[in-house]
């Protein structure tokens, strides 16, 4: 019941904006419950990680809500993303297996938590990109573009930190900080996409709609790196 409630509450945001806070509370409660039941952070497998991504996207959007209180589109897109992630998440089988010894380290926990926090911020960056195109006034567009830049820059910091923690974990677990697998290549590709975004912004020609579109395109790579690579390619990661 509590599972179905999560996407439903996010979907209710389409009619009543404040239900996003109830959705956040319910989802947080569920994650805590799962964590206590399993005796570990519930971040293994698609069920847990999709719900966590849904939660990260919603929670990290809270600081933006004041600025976009009159722009209903922002709430709707955030709620849409969180509803989609939690809908797919509840369809996936929850992992109940005990933690494999190799995952029993705080390097792994930091690595995963920071990854999903950065994915959440990259998602908000993409939504800000869509909002950019909804605005008519150039002043609103300029502010939205600057907000997208700050959001993506913060996401980039967290993502870089996540990669470094992943490297430290890999060194302790497998004797090397880097493995040549498609997942690692896609993760580097994702990191390069946002590195490119940050460098492109130095050039005046790229400012405005071009850079905003790059921010949106980056999120497509985020989704493929997270879901596509794990499902389609053999990798050291299960998600």
């Amino acid at each position: 019941m509590i599972l179905i409630l999560q996407p439903l509450l996010y979907a209710t945001t389409f009619f009543w904006q404040k239900s996003i806070f109830i959705a956040i509370l319910v989802q947080t409660g569920y994650m805590i419950y799962r964590g206590l039941t399993l005796g570990r952070l519930p971040l293994i497998g698609l069920h847990d990680t999709l719900l966590f991504l849904s939660l990260c996207t919603a929670v990290l959007s809270i600081p933006f809500m004041g600025r976009f209180s009159k722009q209903k589109g922002f709430f709707l897109y955030i709620a849409f993303l969180s509803a989609v992630f939690s809908s797919i998440g509840i369809l996936m089988k929850p992992s109940t297996m005990p933690l494999p010894p190799v995952l029993n380290t705080f390097w792994f926990e930091f690595h995963v938590v920071l990854s999903f926090l950065s994915y959440g911020l990259f998602g908000i960056g993409a939504i800000l990109g869509i909002i950019f195109f909804l605005y008519k006034a150039s002043s609103d567009k300029k502010i939205t573009e600057a907000l997208q830049y700050r959001t993506i820059l913060t996401g980039y910091l967290l993502f870089s930190l996540s990669m470094i923690f992943g490297g430290i974990w890999a060194y302790f677990a497998w004797g090397t900080y880097w493995l040549w697998t498609p997942k690692e290549l896609w993760t580097t590709l994702l990191w390069l996409t946002y590195t490119l975004y940050l460098h492109l912004r130095f050039r005046q020609w790229w400012r405005g709609k071009r850079i905003v579109l790059t921010g949106i395109a980056g999120y497509v790579i985020v989704l493929f790196t997270y879901l596509g690579v794990g499902l389609l390619m053999k990798s050291s990661h299960s998600f």
Partner: protein
Amino acid sequence: MKLILNIFRSVRTTNILIFILMGILFAGAIVMPLFPSYREINNTNLFRWLSGVPLSESWWLYLCILIIGLLIINTIVCSIESIIKKDRTKRWPLVISPQLIHLGFAFIMLAHFLSSYMAAHGFMVLQEGQGIKFRNGDTLYLERIDYSIQKGYITDMAVLLKYVTSDGTAIKLKSSPNHPAIIRGTGIYLKDMDIMSAKRVLIQISRDPGAIWALVGGILFIMGTTLLVTLKIKQDAL
């Protein structure tokens, strides 16, 4: 000479190189699962692996090394120019933060070069009481295997080892997942355990001289990025 310098001090060059590198990695991610030779790529260092694989399978890695090399030159030239140009500015943290990031990136790439050239990995399956002799005359013995099981899954495991040097000195070691035994700069990793047939473990011996430089690079990169995020958020207060 001036033309080459102009090319390398341009952010446009950075953007083009990053874009090309993205394309190469994309190609690499498609190529990797196609050839069985890639199953061995993580079992040795990159340059040794490359020497035994035909160019038709490894071309994208050579391109990758070339573009990263150009990107490092571009990074260094841009950083030097940026420091010279912005020398008189009072906001030194804003000047220094991108350079810290670039320096971190350069260290991480240096680490990859060292690892690709000098890293060594070896694997062995051992049972209790068995040992393996190294080329330097030292011997590693597996004394005991410990594990615990929950719901049919191994939830914890460890091995007790004895490392005997060529002069007869014995050193007791313990290795478990995420807690390798480190001796003389070499890590002894417990990779896997089989308790179904014979009680045996898969041990990995690894030496990766690039790891410490990657860590240094990572710390510099994060310091620079954190400083930049803080400054940008303050500067662009909306």
